[in-house]
């Protein structure tokens, strides 16, 4: 009987130890919560195993966003408001997240690996003396340890990493985990007005210059990329690039580019996919006129479905493609636009 009770209490202790408090930074821009943050929150709810899931929101007017977070698994929402926080203030944000981690005794911190999350994670790690894994694509508990997987060597290898520090910080690559909005609980919402000190705003963003309504390759569900095979947009390739943009528009996707066309100044660097550009994992990646250099493959081979269009049937891009068409951009792109239009309009 006593042994049984002891075992029961041991089991309980283990269970409590195994229930970490997980804190998630929820990124919002202009009152819109980033989907990648909801992916992280959904994962946090899973990792907490019934323990506390604390969501942190920072902005000029964010309390209205707090209520929805319960259905993604948050049990508590800390909303910090100040008019200065309309734009990103790295030092202040890091300070508030660290303060929240300490107050809530969180041991796992998740952030979406966006421009903001990537910038914040190491700052938080340094302030807490915590280890940081950047850009995790998987996070699993095995024998009481959280094992993170991430790409290394720009997608050419996958590293499995364990953090040894008491607090563990992970930034999560967008599109790695599904969004689950099926939780029934409501989160306790705590709104506080935070008045930053001058030093907290020393690196605050003054202004945001948007590239006119364009969807970013790193965030898009569908990416349509062009390479040298599309030829010079200021000459014979003009129509090809217009078609590529049209195709992206029809699919609601973003335009990407190979390194060769960026180096030739045909497209801006912000569109470059690959080792010295962006690493993307959309559900559909269409590579048109891209031969598939190692450096490009490193940036897109984790896409769910890859389509290659190239006139050279031996191009390396076909080795990683799920579907391929051997043909020129001149021939294939206009047909694709027409065919996709039929399907997309049916949806």
């Amino acid at each position: 009987m006593e042994a049984g009770l002891n075992r029961l209490s041991n089991n309980l202790t283990q269970k409590i130890l195994a229930m970490p408090t997980v804190l998630v930074f929820i990124e919002q821009r202009n009152g819109q919560i980033k989907r990648a943050s909801l992916e992280s929150l959904s994962k946090a709810a899973e990792l907490a195993q019934g323990g506390k899931v604390v969501a942190v929101l920072i902005g000029s007017n964010v309390k209205g966003l707090a209520d929805v977070l319960g259905k993604y698994g948050a049990t508590k929402v800390l909303a910090y408001e100040n008019s200065a926080f309309e734009r990103y203030a790295p030092t202040a944000f890091a300070k508030l997240i660290v303060k929240s981690v300490k107050e809530e005794a969180a041991t796992v911190v998740l952030l979406a690996s966006t421009a903001m999350g990537k910038d914040l994670a190491p700052r938080i790690g340094a302030r807490l003396g915590a280890g940081v894994v950047s850009d995790a694509i998987d996070l699993k508990e095995e024998n009481g340890k959280l094992i993170a997987k991430r790409y290394a060597y720009s997608g050419k290898a996958i590293a499995s990493v364990v953090l040894e520090s008491e607090v563990k910080v992970f930034s999560i690559r967008p599109n790695s985990f599904p969004v689950k909005d099926t939780h029934t609980g409501t989160a306790e919402v705590v709104v506080s007005t935070y008045n930053p000190e001058t030093a907290d705003l020393r690196d605050i963003v003054k202004e945001i210059v948007a590239s006119a309504g364009k969807l970013d390759v790193a965030e898009a569900d569908i990416v349509v990329s062009g390479g040298r095979g599309l030829r010079d947009p200021n000459g014979e390739g003009k129509q090809n690039w217009e078609n590529l943009e049209r195709l992206a528009q029809v699919l609601g996707g973003a335009v990407g580019a190979s390194r060769a066309v960026v180096d030739a100044h045909w497209r801006p660097h912000s569109e470059q996919v690959g080792q010295t550009g962006k690493v993307v994992s959309p559900k559909l990646y269409i590579a048109c006129g891209i031969s598939g250099a190692v450096q490009h493959l490193a940036g897109m081979s984790s896409s769910k479905v890859i389509v290659a269009i190239n006139k050279d049937k031996d191009a390396p891009i076909f080795q990683v493609a799920d579907y391929g068409i051997v043909g020129t951009a001149e021939d294939v792109l206009p047909q694709l636009i027409e065919e996709f239009k039929k399907v997309v309009s049916h949806n």
């Binding site: 280890g131 050419k156 202004e207 210059v209 010295t276 799920d322 068409i325």
Partner: protein, 247 residues
């Protein structure tokens, strides 16, 4: 203006990566190491500021003697001095710590600016820059594609999803460089000759804490099988719609 530039070396971007038998690193056979491309942008930007405002550029690397060649290249491009830190670093936190100690010792405090790449193309952690800023308690602007400065304050552009953020900071600060910031110079013969007599200091800095992370192993990413070649756009769209269900 005295600037610290942190410099890593990485396998050449065209290198095919093979995992070593112990699964903890990569097979070094046939791999050539080049200056981390993002650090090259950082170095170029530092050299431009030195040309405009005077001062020095000191280069800091954490690694073994194989780094000497890329450090010489940095000196040939125009850096003045270099420090090679031989410490058994285990992760980005360690790298940031030993760099901060070496930089503090070299400048007797905080330099006017610390420039480095937004990430190294080996582990792509993108952690060292912001961590350094925390060690020095100075502002940090990461993923920078534009810099204008009068020597007292700096206006920087950082790349974000779908646009750019404009940030104004006062010196000293940490900058992490992104492609697009500049076009790095190629060392000329005069620079290469001058580099031969420039000092490279070597030091060992003990690590401050126990390891914050452990690399369990490296794996090859799952290899994709070459897929179906289809004859027409209509067939492709049908497959994407009905088989792959992504449209």
């Amino acid at each position: 203006m005295n600037i610290a530039v942190c410099l890593n070396q990485v396998p050449d971007t065209s290198a095919r990566i093979k995992i070593a038998p112990d699964g903890k690193g990569i097979d070094q056979a046939g791999v050539t190491y080049v200056m981390n491309p993002y650090d090259e942008f950082a170095l170029e930007e530092a050299l431009k500021l030195k040309e405009k405002f005077g001062g020095t550029v000191s280069v800091f690397s954490v690694g073994d003697d194989s780094f000497q060649q890329n450090i010489r290249k940095a000196l040939a491009m125009g850096a003045d001095k270099a420090v090679l830190i031989k410490s058994p670093v285990r992760d980005a936190s360690d790298v940031a710590f030993v760099l901060s100690e070496a930089i503090k010792a070299h400048f007797g405090g905080t330099p006017d600016a610390i420039f480095l790449g937004k990430e190294s193309t080996d582990f792509n952690d993108a952690q060292v820059g912001p961590m350094l800023a925390e060690h020095f308690d100075v502002p940090c602007v990461s993923v920078v594609v534009g810099l204008e400065t009068d020597g007292k304050t700096a206006k920087l552009e950082r790349e974000i999803e779908g646009g750019k953020e404009i940030v104004e900071v006062t010196f000293p600060f940490v900058l992490t460089a992104q492609k697009g910031l500049n076009l790095p110079r190629v060392p000329n013969m005069k620079g290469i000759m001058a580099a031969k007599s420039k000092p490279i200091e070597t030091k060992e800095i003990p690590l401050a804490s126990t390891a914050k992370s452990t690399l369990l192993n490296l794996d090859k990413p799952p290899q994709k099988q070459a897929g179906k070649i289809v004859a027409s756009a209509s067939e492709l769209v049908k497959l994407l719609h009905e088989e792959a269900k992504v449209i």
